[in-house]
């Protein structure tokens, strides 16, 4: 299942590494990354594949949300369908 991960937080060294490590630990494959820094704020959008993730999607989403604050980040993972529904006919 394809999903979109969004990461927002104060910019620092190693954000991508931290988030990717978290995803790798749960066997989530990164397909695409787009990131930028605006006024010291780091914003990253990742397209990922959760096919091999052992956790049910809801649990994975809960885990990402929970792990975010420890890394000083707000992390969300949502199924891609919601964005497609809204922006693609």
């Amino acid at each position: 299942m394809r999903a979109i991960v969004t990461v927002v937080g104060q910019d620092r060294v190693g954000i991508i590494a931290d988030v990717c490590a978290l995803l790798a630990k749960n066997n989530v494959n990164v397909l695409d990354i787009s990131q930028t820094v605006m006024q010291d704020y780091f914003t990253m959008i990742m397209m990922v594949d959760t096919e091999r993730c052992p956790l049910p999607f809801g649990e994975l989403a809960g885990l990402m949300k929970q792990e975010g604050p420890a890394l000083g980040l707000s992390i969300h993972i949502q199924r891609e369908d919601i964005f497609n529904a809204m922006h693609r006919i």
Binding site: Q78, E80, F83, N84, A85, H87
Partner: protein
């Protein structure tokens, strides 16, 4: 590939602009629960609802987690109880309401609708018994919602029922006087009630519906408000286009959630209700959208035209986004549930008469309006009759949900809490309609009901 802007736009709508799915409502037919023994009937009702809706809340939460979109309410609507209970050998219908309430609590939903009677042309014995039991039923239950349809374009207005409902609303307020007349917030009087409405308090599962069905109500006044901020001062053509595009996006979300819920619950998808439903939260108000169009305060001259545009554009944008559209579909203007409406009513600009005019061009009617506790039953009935006439003649659904708050005067506030918000007590005309309501009988259906 989705662009970064599109993704951030969606997230912003959810995080900042209060975009949510207002309700997933499971309609359940209770016709198979009829039984001459009232106890057996209640047991069948409880069992069937619990069986059908066992996973409703769980699935709703699953979808919320996966898509990251809040689903505010999970609810149940059932066959009008007056039909289910008609064959029961009993005079007391309150136990049916208690059975519904218990089932709602077991399933974990926050409202269950369908303690209802459809009496637009006449009343059966069962309808009479159900209506008489409404004040008690709403006082002893927490989650049961009741509705009575007193008119339709095809049948005209049943004025005996209108007169009766004025009394019932008064009694319901009295029975729940300790909670500001809260019972009345769970009671709607309709003209042209629809069978697939997912919104409370007027939801019921019509007899033309399947065994069970999933209906979804979307929301998003905040998103529309935000979108309009980017077209300040531009002509109405641009305003309408902007609302349409926004409504399309909101509704696509509703359609996606409806399809997922329907699949996971193995229950047919019914409709998406294209409504703009406000909440008391700041930034989630329909009144503020109207003001964004250029009105200083909602309720001033121009409000009806602004609302007409909004209502129409919401439907036009939404209708292409969903395979089946139904329910009430339009902008809601409940006073107590809309931060901007509350402010406008408090400032005295928004009056009951203006609200009545607004109901001619939007979804539903006089909704969640507190009036003084000493308002007579005849005045309440006359307000219902006016609203029903608007519905009947304009071939649309209209409804009245008034709260004659016991002991409260004009200017007082009535607190309901949660999504129901708080309502300033609004003045009603003091001139009597007693003799008008005392006539009874039926107001004949309008000429344009003869369409065959």
């Amino acid at each position: 590939m989705l662009s970064r802007n599109e993704i951030l736009q969606t997230l912003d709508m959810i995080d900042q602009q209060h975009l949510d799915i207002r309700t997933i409502t499971m309609g359940i037919s209770l016709l198979s629960c009829a039984d001459p023994d009232p106890k057996a009937c209640c047991r069948k009702i409880y069992d069937k609802i619990c069986r059908k809706a066992e996973r409703l809340v769980e699935v709703g939460e699953q979808i919320e987690g996966e898509f990251g979109i809040p689903i505010v309410n999970k609810r149940i609507s059932v066959t009008p109880v007056a039909l289910v209970a008609a064959g029961c050998e009993t005079e007391d219908y309150v136990p049916f309401a208690v059975a519904l309430d218990r089932a709602a609590k077991t399933c974990g939903v926050n409202f269950i609708g369908g303690y209802s009677a459809l009496v637009q042309k006449g009343m059966t014995k069962a309808d009479e018994k159900l209506i008489a039991s409404i004040p008690e039923a709403l006082a002893v239950t927490d989650f049961v919602c009741s509705s009575v349809n007193v008119g339709s374009t095809r049948a005209g207005i049943h004025m005996d029922a209108v007169a009766r409902m004025g009394e019932i609303i008064k009694q319901t307020a009295q029975r729940t006087a300790d909670r500001g007349g809260f019972g009345c917030a769970k009671l709607v009087v309709f003209c042209n009630a629809v069978e697939d409405n997912p919104f409370m308090a007027g939801a019921f599962h019509g007899v033309g519906e399947a065994e069970s069905v999933i209906n979804v109500g979307v929301s998003g006044p905040g998103v529309v408000y935000h979108a309009l901020q980017s077209v300040k001062g531009q002509p109405f053509d641009v305003v309408a286009e902007t609302v349409k595009k926004t409504a399309f996006r909101i509704t696509r979300m509703g359609q996606l959630v409806a399809r997922e819920a329907s699949q996971r619950l193995d229950t047919p998808f019914g409709i998406v209700d294209l409504s703009l439903a406000p909440t008391p939260a700041v930034g989630d108000s329909v009144a503020r959208i109207l003001e964004e169009m250029g009105l200083e305060t909602c309720g001033t001259h121009g409000t009806t035209a602004a609302l007409a545009l909004l209502n129409d554009a919401v439907k036009k944008g939404g209708v292409m986004a969903s395979s089946h559209v139904g329910g009430l579909s339009g902008a809601f203007i409940p006073v107590s549930e809309d931060e901007g409406m509350i402010a406008a009513a408090q400032s005295g600009v928004l009056t009951l008469d203006k609200l009545e005019a607004m109901t001619c061009v939007c979804s539903v009617g006089l909704d969640m309006i507190a009036v003084p506790g000493d308002t007579t039953a005849a005045t309440l009935s006359a307000i219902i009759a006016d609203e029903a006439a608007i519905g009947m003649v304009n071939n649309k659904t209209t409804a009245v949900r008034l709260i004659p708050a016991p002991g409260k005067q004009v200017g007082d506030m009535v607190e309901f809490g949660g999504l129901l918000g708080s309502a300033p007590v609004m003045p009603v005309h003091q001139s009597s309609a007693e003799a008008f309501i005392a006539r009874g009988g039926r107001i004949p259906a309008p000429l344009h009901s003869l369409r065959n």
